[in-house]
Symmetry: C4
Subunit: 335 residues, 4 copies
């Protein structure tokens, strides 16, 4: 289920270049992300693991991502860490030659379950990860009847990350939201903690409030989650807020649905884009369907570069654009 | 009946804090209001008294408010002052242990009926009030065929309040609108008169023009009240206008319908929130229903603090927010 | 038929005064207009004359205006000047004791038909006029298949007016639009010509393009008039543009439909308001119906003064207001 | 099929002149374009040539344009250049006495097919052209399965144009978009290349993405073209962007549908207007129908001049106007 709240990509206009001055066939959209070469600035972000259908879904994504030479993340590895019998639902990605595999753990569990660098290592090993995403999901936890809602002392992650890098290996850590975005203040904290990258996962795409709103039958709980349908920082706004203060890699996700959205994200500051829901829908069918979804987005991205007269991603990052008032308003935050 | 005119809370965005850094269970939303400790910044504002059903309604509210340790006001006490046989419809609140009970008299009656400090004392005694609200309702009076519409020489209230405080007791006086809000100029006058608090009761919630519009059958009167359906200062605008010039306590009411609305009100300057219509609907059933409505709002408020990374109401009063253009326009008033 | 184009009165907000500090019964809305005392700042502007039903309509308006002590204009007197047999359809107003009777001639006829001060005198005499309105209706003429569309050398009116005032009597001359408004540049010219007053008659009320659009059956003509449905300067915009450069009397008309519209007009600079279409509809019935329409507007105006805390029209002219962006845009006209 | 994306002419308001001060019959809308006298600032832009129905369509347009003394362009002459048997579908325009005939070749073919000044000469000769339009259509090429998408090294046109002018004759060259507009940066390049004129052909009228969207049945291709339905620079925005940097002639086209649109285009900087789709629809019937469409636009344009008090096109170019925020946003382009 997607937010009614918009990503606000519709409040960005890229500037058509009527003369183009590019050869569409020569347009190069490859990027280097964390030292890995990807054929496009696109990763499939964390979706699943730990339950019966997960292995098949992860396999379908892995196959497609191998074929297209892109990156992918697995879903939260908590289940795999608690129960070794489900490890294979994640580990299936090891069977494929994927340039960038990203592990996934929840920030709240480092507080609530006192996880540490060893937990990280279990997760990395499980899938032979090239990078680790730590997800921050306060709304999701708050809205679920049994959620873990103690995010106090999030700074302990600083110690975990620095120890892990010293004791194990120097892989990048990504701070990841799950659909409500990060603010400027968040980005400053995440930098202090030592994160190498931020995946904004802003509002406008998958909405946990809406998932709960439709899942739960009791009127009382529905009304409660219903209040937060409009919550969060739109993806485009989160990108603009974060990029000004965070010096590392920025991944645009949350409602990325086309290559035009991708181009807009990159034009306003993202290094790479992430997508989850449309890939999940395709992966429930087969790997071919996932390839189709991703290829369409890649073709659209290339076409967009052609239309704004950019020959590669570096040029796209410098292209001109318009920010309309609905989005500009997010840049005037008052104390 | 509620205004079509919005409260303009939808033109405020609180800034999601993706990392939260709070423990939801430790969030403290208690406040001190007029020296009384409330479990949440929430009071039920004036609704009823004087007619047959009123006693039951007031009892249901009182029970719920006692259980949740919040404040409540009774409806206009004019009926009780004119006719001792209906006093019990108000006095029923004395049977409950409520931290903050607020009496209610109409400003216009101090002019038209030459009320004085003794009238205030009757009202205070009637319900053992901890504070007195004086309501200002020019639209309501103007729109009712038999309304009292002489608000000239409102300054006589200065004398009444100061005498009452000297001769009887030093309780706080609240200037209260009933659904059209106060302007900056009003707030300056209310300060001069000596009010300790303002309850803005702005437009966007209960609308007296709409009540009349649907109540009256004659086309002529309907058309007349219909002209004022869009009248008044939206609650969010009234809060912003009043807080800049009024040094006392500010209560946000008029269309407060969720804990998110409450959090927005407090972020932009209110000390406490008030609610009437949703509580009336619940109180027509029973106290349990009133508890449910209020508990839901409280839970939503706590969740909102968690999501903006605030541990208590003082921090919420300093949190960041966006004011969108529809609301900003209310701050550029021209002479 | 009314414009879809708005008057933009909805882009003005008067500021509710929650304390009022007025006595509704003492509010004085009388004005002096051209040395005549009117019971309210309201005139019925030019509607009809010259055809069979006109006498009855003018009589009904005259009766009502006499009863309420307001002003009124007759429709274009061209028919009466060309054909003495229809003079009584205008002259009927002489049977009533009306404080301000306004004659009406078309500006274009002074050019096309070489009218002069004697024509003015015929018109004045016909109805014993206290003031003369000269209407400017280029759109109406252009859109009618047989319209007079030579407005070149409009300056000859300067001579006519000055001669008339010298040779006959010093009555005020009103430059009047008919539903598309005057611009700032127009107002400067009208001042130079020697007009004492401007009746803006802006867009948002009666639309001549729409009248033609629905009247004409041929697709070609309909399409043509259809292009101009959105033409003109909204009444509120025209008032703001004109008042800055025109030192004389300003009458707000074009889509004035309530006392709230009246109050907004006066707050932003008008001295008096005018209304046509709603009065025409009532006058097709009887004088009682006209009284009702006008009384409702007067009652609404008084109530509005009460709600903004103004005791008379002079105070209303100084009250505060908000101009929203749709209207503010009309004030940034580019060369 | 037309864009849902607006031309943004609705975000421009011309200022009604209530006094007009013009004689509609004397209004002169003739212009000189490239040394040719046209009865109105209106040309029919490139539509067709090369296929069976094209001859009839071009004949109908030519007849109408001869009668009204306007300019016209033929569609892309590539077919005529590749296959002499279809030359007559273009050459039919030679049978009519048209003040301004414009040839049409695709910019991309100068790159892909290595066309040169001789190709230009073939095209000029084919129709006895008074001017040559070179169209830039990157979106159209990208969205068609078999499109030519190599626009790299567009600067070779500089050489072609200068050689042609030296070796053959000094006719003007027009850089023409086909429905997505030119940006400021484009205009700077087009000036460097040596174009004498720009036909902006912005978005808001005929949309190639929409044509493909409805033409193609396969879901995959539809989805792809669907992403670009909202692509491009609205015609009004393109005009404002281009006019600031391009010193030559500017033609407004793309969604010009009325004389009011024409007047707005000219007021904000265009020298002439162009129209395609409405003329195509009429030309599928007969020349009479084309005359009707064009005459209606001319009548509307004249009426608009009358209403803004302008006696000719030069005055219209200096008339006042309002630019509303949706359009103003296009002028704040960020790097
Ligand atoms: C079914 C589903 C499961 C998800 N599980 C996780 C997860 O375990 N860990 C995580 O960091 N994000 C998770 N996400 C969030 C996504 O990675 C992504 O941030 C979010 O869905 C927004 O992107 P979208 O709008 O493209 O779906 C999940 C999303 C979906 C739809
Ligand atoms: C049925 C009803 C009766 C009310 N009676 C009073 C009253 O006697 N005195 C008063 O000050 N306000 C009265 N109010 C106004 C409320 O206290 C409150 O200011 C207003 O309804 C706006 O809040 P709401 O939108 O939450 O209803 C009444 C409201 C309602 C709905
Ligand atoms: C039926 C009708 C006839 C009118 N005839 C005249 C007229 O003869 N002279 C004139 O100056 N205005 C004439 N008007 C214009 C009105 O005086 C007024 O300026 C215009 O209708 C806008 O006001 P409204 O929106 O209240 O109708 C006429 C209006 C109507 C509806
Ligand atoms: C059917 C059709 C064919 C066209 N063919 C050409 C062409 O061959 N060359 C060209 O430069 N433009 C061509 N155009 C584009 C038009 O000249 C014009 O720029 C565009 O349609 C926008 O104007 P409109 O909104 O008035 O249709 C064509 C347009 C249509 C509708």
């Amino acid at each position: 289920m997607e937010y009614r709240k918009s990503t606000l990509f519709n409040a960005i206009e890229l500037i058509h270049r009527g003369v183009s001055n590019c050869n569409l066939k020569d347009i190069d959209i490859t990027i280097d992300l964390f030292g890995k070469k990807l054929n496009a600035p696109l990763i499939v972000t964390a979706i699943t693991g730990g339950h019966p259908k997960a292995k098949e879904i992860n396999r379908n994504i892995a196959k497609a991502v191998e074929e297209l030479n892109l990156g992918m993340g697995v879903g939260s590895q908590r289940a795999g860490i608690l129960d070794s019998s489900v490890v294979d639902t994640y580990a299936v990605v090891r069977d494929y030659d994927i340039p960038l595999v990203i592990g996934n753990l929840g920030a709240v569990n480092f507080i609530v379950d006192r996880w540490d660098e060893e937990t990280v290592e279990s997760a990395v090993e499980m899938i032979d990860a090239d990078a680790m995403a730590i997800h921050f999901n306060p709304l999701q936890e708050a809205i679920q009847p049994e959620g873990d809602t103690n995010f106090k002392d999030i700074h302990i992650l600083k110690d975990v990350i620095s120890k892990y890098k010293k004791m194990y290996r120097n892989i990048p850590f990504i701070a990841k939201q799950v659909g409500e975005g990060f603010s400027k203040e968040d980005a400053i904290i995440l930098k202090e903690i030592g994160f190498d990258a931020i995946d904004v996962a802003g509002s406008g795409g998958t909405s946990w409030a809406m998932v709960e709103y439709y899942r739960i039958k009791e009127r009382e709980f529905r009304e409660f989650s219903g209040r937060f349908l409009e919550w969060g920082i739109p993806t485009a706004a989160s990108l603009l807020l974060v990029k000004n203060v965070f010096p590392g890699i920025i991944i645009a996700s949350g409602g990325i649905r086309s290559g035009v959205d991708m181009a807009k994200s990159i034009a306003i500051g993202a290094h790479c884009c992430g997508v989850a829901l449309p890939v999940l829908k395709a992966a429930l069918k087969d790997a071919r369907e996932v390839v189709k979804v991703l290829e369409r987005m890649i073709k659209e991205l290339k076409t967009t570069l052609f239309l704004v007269g950019c020959e590669n991603i570096e040029e796209l990052r410098k292209t001109k654009y318009i920010i309309k008032s609905e989005l500009r308003e997010w840049l005037n935050i008052k104390d």
